[in-house]
Symmetry: C2
Subunit: 613 residues, 2 copies
């Protein structure tokens, strides 16, 4: 073989031997692995429904398709799996345009399992959270683990790790993914592009670091996904000329229309936290635009939503309910994202030469996934998970050892010290706004006892602290937060964007210490403590972000936490997401990190006490 | 700069410095090169017409667009060219999906000139003909020359040079482009993919050579274009699983529909020789398919059509006349081919970050190109060609020296020798069918005088000969052809697919020799001789295929030849194309090469005399 020496056996096999076998299989010279008979094919290229379609699969690829294949018998041998699809529409496997797996608290394998149950065969994942904790290694662990799930995970290199340049001194991050590492990762076949370029300020400033990251994706002919909330006009244009190709942050149809007109792929987002689809479908139902550059993305989706509602099937059904033609809605999770990824020769279409990713549903007015085939293997059928991985993946020790706390603090160490023993001060308080990522910076009078400023849970002002958990520095940022509704107890979690230090909020410092101790003990997650007792726990022992256990266990812990919080009047997803974002010092106005309170506009640390009175 | 050492200054500039400047230009910090004001923009992404659109261009790229740009003045400096477009629709520059430039007989520069006059800013060219004569060098000359035209020529590596494996011994080709050369060329940035894979027999046989060619395009992430006339069902599927992505050979709408459904881009062809558009638009007008994977290609277009009718503007207007919605028709020559080429981030759309390729037309129901901007430069405006190339290209001597004939033959050397002196024989005669590429193999009685078999122009049976012009071997293939209508004189040409040896047909051997002599003297082209006198000439001195002179000179020679032939009752394009294809020994039934008559079905040489009688 001409190129064997240069390319190596494995590549030669995939490039020449594989097509050779596919050609033979198409001609019936090799028996098929799988045959799907009598399907109603949803053709996402022509927008037709084609009755009586037969599909022949060999070695994971569709090799033959017609309606019908008259000599179908010649493809069927003793070992060929034959699936009758006469009651079904068959669709290409769904493609998730953009998600952070970590938000589900599931590991890649378990996320993949749920994905297949809802027809998703390809997931573009931006491992932004784990990269902040474990750096490039975190990305590599995810890529490794993804080999043990049938779902095609394409990872993006997160573009903004850490979120804040350390030179500002307002935060202690876990890890870095710098431009050089981005360039190297781009060579990895598991990497499909550069993840959402959030730092649009750097782009508009034309800073070299971000331009190098974009350039290295371009050089590798990979995609560059964007993140441009509310960017319009000249700022949007300046962002685009840097080479950014998509956006999933539009909340208004006119904003999305501008982005679409200007050449961006617009991912309409509908996840657990952000629900934009209802407004954005107006692009289709009211403005009547060509839908080819619209896709659907969840961005963040919780294990609860995955288990209780579904995934892209659920979101596509919503789009259909909102009035989008079913085939156009299906294109938004198949052909359209495949084209954006420049992978439409392999995914997003049921046609010869494509991966055999096929979803069965009895209806397309409302999709109900009854069977999912990926790479020609039936991985899910009527509630049953049928995939048998060869081998399994264990995260290395390092992934579990991310609770690098200097020591468990004493209760008083979590408190803000006053310069007086007794009296009152005006404190700078973070006013959280559940349901919004913005906070307000408010001044509140608080009393001082025994030299420490005291929270006032009755006025919904509680203690908050962030502990460095990456470098055992002993750094503790202290302050007060209002708006959480936490009247008693404490909640601590290792989900604290983007550095994912340990964040804890509580009505009293003793419960906070118990929660910290428990959290450190379990290796990360979310802990609720009331009156000194651990009431609920979600164990996220990998990087303190995701669980290595099965999704049902995580779901039950999630529900358990939710119920316990509900019993004290708190909405779990509000408090957990709000708390998680309080540490992100790039969203106005006041935040808290392990360095202290951060004045976001001026990117500097402020004291928790404004003045003594 | 981090990557400067690795990548080199030039690449670093294009990857980092260029975007940096574009960002500044988008923000108005650098003055624009060009501003287009008040246009009616045809947005090929959303399928809208957007009034009052202003477009700002810097360094060849669109950096800013809005309707309108309220602070437009800040982009305009002393050197900014401002174009008022208030009377115009502006469209993205057109993209030709597939053409053999050589068929126009024009060099790249002159082809490009005509292209711009008809709104074409990007041409995907398969230099299949010149590669047969000059090999990889021919391709490189074309790439070189393309730097002196504003048109973006993307070349494909021809996949089948030569058309027939030399091991059959039925033809002497000029040059080879083997799999190794294909792999090397794929690294050239001027190369966009693998040209139409014509040899579907090799694909279906899964022969390594062709699979390596396809694999090397895939490895370089470049396109693989197809050529699959009448291929349907399992053969089409087998062809597709090899990785082939498009086809331009459909002649029937159902054939095209099958290809479209199976994931191919379907280029609807409408060139000088092949007119398929009228039938294929039924996909749109009758079957109502999604049009996103339909494009338009000319495949072959003559200088005459280019000058007299136009180019893609003319073909798009035809599509509109056939009932295609104008914006959908425009998508077929802009966004759709750009997506096929995976170049939609740079071409096919008027949006920030794209090349500033903009076409002006007063109407979109019928496109009339009044101005063409490429790379932000007005290259054509109201009949005037405004492009000023920096420097010029001269083909090397080698490109001109392709008449490598051993010696000018004597008249009798062109004749078929009989084993008898006088009498009759049954000869194997090629029956040409003008308007079709097929020939028939017929047996005809011919008389013998002085030991040579004599033609019978009265019965429309004339002499035909093919002379090796590549290796000075002295090879001459001799025979008879009927159906050309050549009652007197002789016509000789160096366009003789695919090896492009010298082919000559004539009523008498003396005129044939005069024609050969003239043809050798001028370095290739087409020569008409009547009664010993050279009556018309088209000089094609580069590779004997294209002219290095301006298009108007070539057009005039073309018209001159046509008129002279008409005066003796012959249709030029019929005889020139039919004659050119008589040497292609892969189309049934009987052909002629420098080795003699070829029985195509059996791939072997047959004697011109069947028997003496």
């Amino acid at each position: 073989m001409l190129l064997k020496g240069v390319l190596g056996d494995k590549l030669v096999f995939s490039l020449f031997e594989k097509p050779r076998n596919l050609i033979k299989a198409a001609l019936g010279e090799i028996k098929a692995d799988l045959v799907v008979k009598n399907a109603k094919l949803v053709n996402v290229i022509t927008r037709e429904i084609i009755e009586d379609t037969d599909i022949v699969v060999y070695d994971g690829y569709i090799v033959r398709i017609d309606n019908p294949i008259r000599d179908l018998d010649k493809y069927i041998g003793g070992k060929t799996v034959v699936v009758d699809a006469s009651k079904y529409y068959v669709l290409p496997g769904f493609i998730e345009s953009h998600v952070h797996i970590e938000s589900s608290m599931l590991c890649v394998r378990e996320f993949g399992k749920l994905a297949t149950m809802h027809g998703v065969s390809t997931v573009v994942a931006d491992p932004h959270e784990i990269a902040n904790v474990l750096g490039v290694n975190g990305i590599k662990y995810f890529i490794e683990e993804s080999r043990y799930t049938p779902v095609r995970f394409y990872f993006e290199v997160p573009s903004c790790v850490p979120a804040v340049d350390p030179s500002y001194g307002v935060d202690s991050g876990g890890e870095f993914v710098d431009a050089g590492q981005v360039a190297m990762l781009m060579q990895d076949p598991g990497i499909i592009g550069l993840g959402e370029v959030m730092d649009f300020v750097s782009v508009l400033d034309a800073r070299t670091e971000v331009l190098v990251k974009i350039a290295s994706a371009k050089l590798a002919k990979k995609v560059v996904d964007g993140h441009a909330p509310l960017l319009r006009g000249e700022k949007l244009d300046a962002y685009l000329v840097a080479g950014i190709e998509s956006d999933h942050e539009s909340t208004d149809p006119l904003e999305a229309l501008e982005k679409l007109r200007k050449g961006m792929y617009v991912f309409m987002r509908e996840g657990s936290a952000w629900k934009d689809l209802g407004r954005l479908v107006k692009l289709v139902t009211e403005y009547g635009v060509d839908t080819h550059r619209l896709t659907i993305a969840s961005d963040d989706i919780s294990v609860k939503d995955l288990v209780e509602h579904g995934y892209l099937d659920y979101i596509v059904n919503k789009a259909i309910e909102y009035g989008v033609d079913p085939i156009k809605a299906i294109q938004m999770v198949t052909l359209n994202p495949a084209e954006h990824l420049r992978m439409d020769h392999l995914i997003g279409v049921i046609a010869p030469g494509r991966y055999a990713d096929i979803v069965f549903t009895p209806s397309i007015d409302r999709i109900v996934v009854e069977k999912t085939i990926i790479d020609g293997v039936v991985v899910y059928s009527n509630g049953e998970w049928l995939y048998k991985p060869i081998g399994s993946y264990s995260y290395p020790e390092r992934a579990y050892k991310t609770m690098n706390i200097k020591s468990i603090p004493e209760p008083h160490e979590l408190l803000v010290k006053a310069s007086i023993d007794e009296g009152e001060v005006v404190a700078n308080v973070i006013k959280a706004q559940p349901g919004s990522s913005l906070t307000k910076w408010v001044r509140e009078k608080l009393s001082v006892h025994g030299g420490y400023v005291r929270a006032d849970p009755g006025r919904d002002i509680v203690y908050i602290a962030v502990l460095d958990r990456h470098h055992a520095s002993g750094n503790i940022g202290r302050g007060f937060v209002s708006g959480l509704g936490l009247k008693k107890g404490a909640i601590a979690q290792t989900i604290a964007h983007d550095t994912h230090n340990l964040i804890v909020a509580g009505s009293n410092p003793r419960d906070m210490v118990v929660a910290i101790k428990e959290l450190v003990g379990i290796g990360g997650g979310i802990v609720l403590v009331i009156d000194g007792r651990v009431e609920a726990v979600i164990r996220l022992s990998i990087a303190g972000l995701v669980s290595d256990r099965d999704y049902m266990t995580v779901y039950r812990e999630h529900i358990g936490m939710e119920e316990k919080l509900k019993s004290i009047g708190i909405d779990f997803s509000n408090i957990h997401m709000t708390l998680g974002l309080l540490a992100l010092p790039v969203i106005p106005e006041l935040r808290i990190t392990d360095r202290g309170l951060v004045d976001v506009f001026n990117a500097k640390i402020v004291e928790p006490i404004e003045k003594s009175i």
